[in-house]
């Protein structure tokens, strides 16, 4: 027997219907395994009493309800240790008594069993789209988990931010298609089977779309035209911030989702791949006053939600409610949650959905110095975690370039996305902006460095990269909202035909545009992010808001590996090109000067004439040169890199800048050529016969290296 088992205070003092218990410990919140029992602790600022409700797994009625004696309360926290529980087979919840006075913010209802906001696992959706638990009285049940996973030597990787190449994944979408060839489609375990693919692609970070427990049946409905069930597929609607989505685990039905997810993370780390979670702290799944009471509303409505003066819900998230992030108690919950995922799950970073909400005060007004964002930036446990903001919200706050960063926060660079899209479709008046984007947007992030911006052209929200060049407009009819939903400002161009076509010229141009886009993305300063499947031409058939489809709209069709092998092999090349050239991954912005005496400034701009960039409004041509002697502040000597992007429809003759020290231009990429001449392997680049001029095809990009 260990010393822990010998503690003099782990013995029961009370008994109720044969169940033995005693006063608990108020910290930590949630349910914690202790010798011979389980410690339960829950906070409510306004409840008048609290009852612990215990269920046997999957039984409709509870087997015990233990009203907590008032002496078990410290301040506003109720705590109890219950002995002799079958910790693998129980589920628990609370009944909270208190005022039902919506106008004053209270919505207590002791008839409802509530889920613990700090539960580490939730039962009820153990198997994806299994509807058997739909009509239960207490549908989302708190459960206990083991927290003794054997990580062996694993730790978060702490890859320098500037070296990151992010790949955005939806857990189901990545492997649900029958062509994925995995053992358990659409699960954490299946991602593990695809690690060799990720390694070959060259990315070193996966960003998982929400994996906190959510209800895929929330607002589910039938599409009257197709009969398809539309579900909450993306999962941006959190039920609980500490529990992984059980239905994403092949072992969810055995209650082992935690171990399966940790095993995936450990294995990704072992292969040099970081894991970032897309987290949704702006709202919960409880909706507005018409929504279900699952947890927060019944435990402490006034604390957890931003309420209007008459007790209704502010809706800055566009989904019914807004989490009261800058309330000190909620702020602590967010912090506890992130610390838990960073320490217990070895998560490398977080991307915060609609993060501007995290900077709003309790009355909804934007704060100058938001305490939550500051706490996260300075937290000792999160000190090496990547913190990435989606720097806007649905209440009209748009903070790209101005998000309160505290020297830590990065942002999704929405301006980068729009500028690159406009340039690629040949819009006028974009070249000046593009030059900023290629440099890591110094006009916005001058003092924050290049890594303040996450560069992306596509993400889960909007068109895929293929669809960006196959559709002029969105085609969201299958969402059942008369094509009214989804973004209208797509800056897309269909290359001459709306949707699928047999026209080889159109298809060739689309593939070329994808290669152009990937080249610009991988050759920009800042942190690039690729949407799952864009490297192989994944299509959503023109739908730019596929949040509700558990179908081929969202499932990655792995047959595209063969069908579009030219795209995939190009993506692998250009990603590896980035990884091999440190000059592309500077942490500081270019100085636009020759601080190293190399004969050239770190970055220089050109046009069809060398040394003469054309910034005029109608220009659609842009070229730049990086001198590799300036890589990583001059600490590494890299090759020179020259990029010429011609978005004019016709070929143009580009005069090349001349290199010093007998260096010669070699051809790495020419997107106007067909394989095998689109790109040349690293170190196998042929020297150009003509060192002074290069004819760049219409709507094409070339990349040269000088060595």
């Amino acid at each position: 027997m260990s010393t822990l088992d010998n503690r003099i205070d782990f013995y029961p003092t009370n008994e109720y219907n044969g169940i033995k218990y005693r006063r608990g410990r108020v910290l930590p919140f949630g349910a914690t395994l202790v010798p011979n029992g389980v410690n339960f602790s829950v906070f409510s600022s306004a409840a008048t009493s609290c009852t612990l409700v215990l269920f046997n797994k999957n039984e409709e009625e509870p087997y015990a309800e233990i009203p907590l004696p008032d002496e078990f309360r410290v301040g506003n926290v109720y705590a109890i240790i219950v002995f002799g529980l079958d910790y693998e087979n129980i589920e628990y919840g609370y009944r909270m008594d208190g005022p039902h006075d919506p106008q004053n913010g209270h919505r207590f209802d002791r008839n409802i069993v509530l889920s613990d906001p700090y539960a580490k696992a939730i039962g009820g959706r153990d198997i994806w789209r299994d509807a058997s638990g739909l009509n239960r009285n207490y549908p989302f049940r708190s459960r206990l988990v083991f927290d003794d996973f054997d990580w062996e030597e694993d730790n978060p990787l702490e890859t320098p931010m500037e070296d990151l190449i992010i790949y955005e994944i939806h857990v189901r979408g990545f492997t649900s298609h029958p062509s994925s060839g995995v053992r358990h489609r659409g699960t954490f375990a299946a991602i593990r089977e695809k690690i060799p693919y990720l390694i070959e692609l060259g990315i070193n970070c996966v960003e998982l779309m929400p994996i906190y427990e959510f209800d895929e049946f929330e607002h589910s409905r039938e599409n009257s035209d197709t009969g398809d069930l539309l579900v909450n597929y993306w999962g941006y609607s959190t039920l609980n911030f500490f529990a992984p989505k059980a239905g994403y685990a092949a072992t969810g039905k055995y209650g082992m989702a935690v171990d399966e997810l940790k095993t995936l993370i450990k294995e990704l780390h072992r292969n040099g791949i970081e894991v970032i979670l897309d987290v949704v702290f702006n709202h919960t799944a409880e909706g507005d006053h018409r929504g279900p009471t699952i947890s927060f509303r019944g435990i402490d409505n006034k604390t957890y939600y931003m309420l209007t003066p008459d007790g209704y819900y502010f809706n800055f998230s566009g989904t019914g409610n807004t989490l009261n992030c800058n309330h000190p108690v909620v702020r602590n919950m967010v912090l506890d949650c992130l610390r838990y995922w960073a320490s217990e799950y070895h998560i490398d970073g977080f991307r915060f959905d609609l993060a501007s909400i995290l900077g709003r005060a309790q009355d909804g007004s934007p704060l100058n110095n938001p305490p939550l964002l500051e706490s996260l930036a300075h937290d000792p446990i999160l000190a090496k975690c990547k913190l990435i903001a989606e720097a806007w919200d649905a209440g009209g706050l748009y903070q790209v370039g101005a998000f309160p960063a505290y020297g830590r926060w990065a942002e999704w660079n929405g301006k980068y996305r729009d500028t690159v899209r406009k340039f690629l479709k040949g819009d006028h008046n974009t070249v000046g902006q593009l030059s900023q984007c290629m440099q890591g947007s110094p006009e916005m992030y001058l003092h924050r460095g290049t890594t303040a911006g996450i560069n992306f052209i596509t993400c889960h929200d909007g068109f895929t990269l293929y669809d960006l060049f196959a559709y002029n407009g969105k085609h969201n009819e299958a969402n059942g909202e008369n094509n009214q939903d989804g973004c209208n400002d797509n800056f897309s161009w269909n290359c001459g035909w709306e949707g699928e076509t047999d026209d080889p010229a159109v298809n060739l141009l689309r593939h070329r545009q994808i290669k152009n886009a990937l080249t610009i993305l991988m050759l920009s300063q800042g942190v690039p992010m690729i949407l799952m499947g864009d490297e192989m031409g994944r299509t959503q058939m023109g739908n730019n808001n596929t949040y509700c489809h558990d179908s081929e709209f969202n499932w990655l069709d792995w047959s595209f590996v063969q069908v579009n092998f030219d795209l995939l092999s190009f993506a692998r090349h250009i990603i590896n090109f980035r990884r091999q050239h440190p000059i592309l991954r500077n942490k500081e912005h270019y100085s636009n000067h020759d601080c190293r005496d190399s004969g050239y400034a770190d970055v220089t701009f050109h046009g069809t004439k060398a040394w003469h960039a054309d910034w005029s409004e109608s220009n659609t041509v842009f070229a730049f040169m990086l001198d590799g002697y300036h890589a990583k502040n001059g600490s590494i000597k890299d090759d020179a890199i020259y990029v010429a992007a011609n978005m004019h429809w016709d070929a143009l003759d580009f005069e090349l800048p001349q290199l010093s020290e007998n260096r010669k231009w070699h051809l790495s990429v020419n997107t106007s050529m067909v394989p095998p001449e689109t790109f040349y392997p690293l170190q196998g680049e042929p020297e150009l016969e003509n060192q002074s001029n290069f004819i760049v095809g219409g709507r094409s990009v070339i990349v040269l290296i000088g060595k």
Partner: protein, 112 residues
């Protein structure tokens, strides 16, 4: 759950029938740990194990850790396909050597 434990030629043979879950894990662990004090080589026959819960998997890992710390070894025999699959997805399998029969496992010990 039913457990039989036998020691032959310096090898502890543990045969388990039924399910290993939170109801039975504690008892199983304490019975096996007693045996391990005097022996370094363990063969666990899981032919008749129908289910291993999280708690059950943790008992196996405790045995592995205990033996590993003193240079010993545990070999698993006849793990069903389903349990093998669960062990693989939850990472537990990485710690164990699996054999199709007791004889194969014994051979491994004799060779070593």
């Amino acid at each position: 759950m039913k457990v039989t434990i036998q020691t032959k030629n310096d090898i502890v043979y543990i045969t388990i029938q039924g399910s290993i879950d939170s109801n039975t894990a504690g008892e199983l662990q304490s019975r096996i740990m007693e045996e391990l004090t005097s022996c370094n080589r363990v063969i666990m026959d899981l032919t008749a194990v129908v289910f291993l819960s999280s708690a059950g998997l943790r008992v196996l890992l405790m045995i592995y850790r205990q033996l590993n710390a003193k240079g010993g070894k545990v070999l698993l025999v006849n793990v069903s396909e389903e349990i093998c699959d669960i062990m693989s997805m939850t990472g537990f399998i990485n710690f164990f050597e699996l054999y199709g029969s007791i004889e194969e496992a014994e051979k491994q010990f004799i060779q070593a």
